[in-house]
Amino acid sequence: MGNQGGFRLRQEVRGSVRRAGSAVSADECDDVALLRAVARGDEESLAVLYDRHAGWLTIRLTRRCANPDVVDHAVQDTFLAVWREAGSYRGGGDVAAFIWGIGVRRLIDAIRKENGARRRPPWHAEDPQVVVSAEDQVLLGIEHGQLGQALAGLSPELRGAIEATVLDGLTCAEAAVLLGVAEGTVKSRCHRARAALRTALADPLGTPDGMPPRREAWGTP
C-alpha cells in the first residue's frame, strides 16, 4: 500500500526530474540505496541501476532464450517492474538476486506473449558436441567434485529441467513455458534427473578430478 501511494505520487510529479535534496550523486550509491531512491521516484537512480545490471541480466537471460527480441523485452519489463515495485524489496539478499528474480519471471511472460501456447520457443540448447571441457573441469573440479560430474553426466534436457526448477527456482508451470514443453514433461524430467543424480552419487563412477567425464547419455525427450 505504501508503494502504491509512492507510485501515484510519482505520477503527479510536475516539473523536471531533478528532486530536491539529492545531494549524493546516484553513481556513488550502493545498490540498496539506489533501490530506495527508485522507490521514491528518482528516475536517475533507475538509469544507474540499469547501467549496472542490464548487461549481465541480458547475458544470463540469453542463456535461457536465444531470441534477442524476447530477451530485450524481458530486460525492459524487468526494470519497469523494478521501477514500480522497488518498494517491495525487503532488504534480504542481494539486489542482483532481486533483479534476477524479477527478470526470469518477465522472461517467462515475454516468451508466453511471443508464442502463445503453440510454438516451441527457441530453447538455447547446448550444442550436443560440447561437453564440459577438460579445462573447465580443472577449474571447477575442486569445488564441484562428484556433484559436478554427476550433473555433467545428465542429458541436456534433464539438465535444463534441473536448471529451471532448482537453480532458477521456477515452478513447474513456469519451467514448462521456458523450456517449451508440457508441464508433465518437466515433472518427469526432474524426476528422472534426480534419480540419475542419486545413482551417480551413490555409486561414484567419477574418476579423480582432472579427467574428462563419461560420454553424455542422452535421455529421450
Binding site: 542490464a54 548487461g55 549481465w56 540469453t62 519497469l80 538476486a97 569445488e143 556433484l147 550433473l151 539438465r159
Partner: protein
Amino acid sequence: MMSQLPAAPGPAGGPAGHAEAELLASYAAGTAGTVAAWSVEAHLTACEPCRTALSERVDPERLARNRSVLLVRAALGDGGRTMRLLRRCGIPDHLLRLLAATPSLRKSWLLSVLGVLAVLAAEAAAVSPGWTPARVLAGLPRLQHPQILIPFLLVAPLLVLAGVAAAFLPRLDPAYQLTVAAPFSGFTLLLVRAVSALAAALALVVAAAFILPGPGWLPAALLLPSLAVCGLALAAASVMEARAAAIAAGTLWVLPVLLLAGRHLPLAIVHWRAQSACAAVLCICAFVLLMRRDRFELGWTR
C-alpha cells in the same frame, strides 16, 4: 535450493586470475558448459566486479536502445489504477491512451459536473422539506411536488451532452491540426472519446438521480433521454457544423421539457411514451451515424 550446489569460486579462486576472465568470456559467448555456467551465475549474484566485466561484453548499442525505451516507458507510466483495470478487461492500450486527451474525462471537468449536480440537489432539497438522501434511499414516500424536478430533468441530459460535445468540438482540441493531419480514423477517435465521456457523465447523473426526491424509476428513466440527446448531437454533427449540432440537440431536449412543464406534466418527459420516442430517436441517429461515418474524417469537408 541454491545450497544444493557447491559454493561458487570466489574472485580470487582458480589457479590463475586470467582463467576467471576466460570463463566469463565463454559464459558471455554462450559456449560455457552448463555446470560451468551455473557456477558463474551463482558467483555473479555476489560479485560486482564480475558483473561489470560481464556487462562490458554486451553490445553497447543494444543496451543503449533498451535503456532509452525503458526510460520512456517509465516516464509514460501506466496511467493509474483505472487504466490498469480497463486494460485487464481487454481494452487495447492505444485506445485507452487516447482518452487521456479528452477534456470531459479530466478531473476538473468531472468535478464541475458534480458541482452542478450538487447545486441541483441542494435546490431540490431546499424546496422539499423533510427530505434527506437517507429517506430517499430508504424508499420512503417521496414525491410531493413534481415541479421541483424540472431543473434537474432539464439539466441532467444537457450535462451528458456537454461531455460528449467536448469530445468532438474542434475548438477544444488544442492540437486539432495535428489530429487532422494524422492517419488515425476520425470516426474511431470520435467514438472512443464520445463513448467514454458519455459513460462518465451518465454515471454521475444517474447517481445523483438516486438521491433526489423523485419517483423511484427516475435514475433508470434518465438513461434513454440522455443517450438520445447525445445520439442526436453526433448524428447532426455529420450533417452540420459541430457546435451547431450540439446546440440543436440541446434545444431539442429543452423545448419539450419546458412545454410539458408548462402543461403541468413535468414528469411526462420520463414517462414510457417519451421513453419509447427516445429509443426510436436513438436508433435512427445510430443508423445515420453509421451511414455517414466517413464524414467524420476531419479536415476535408467536401
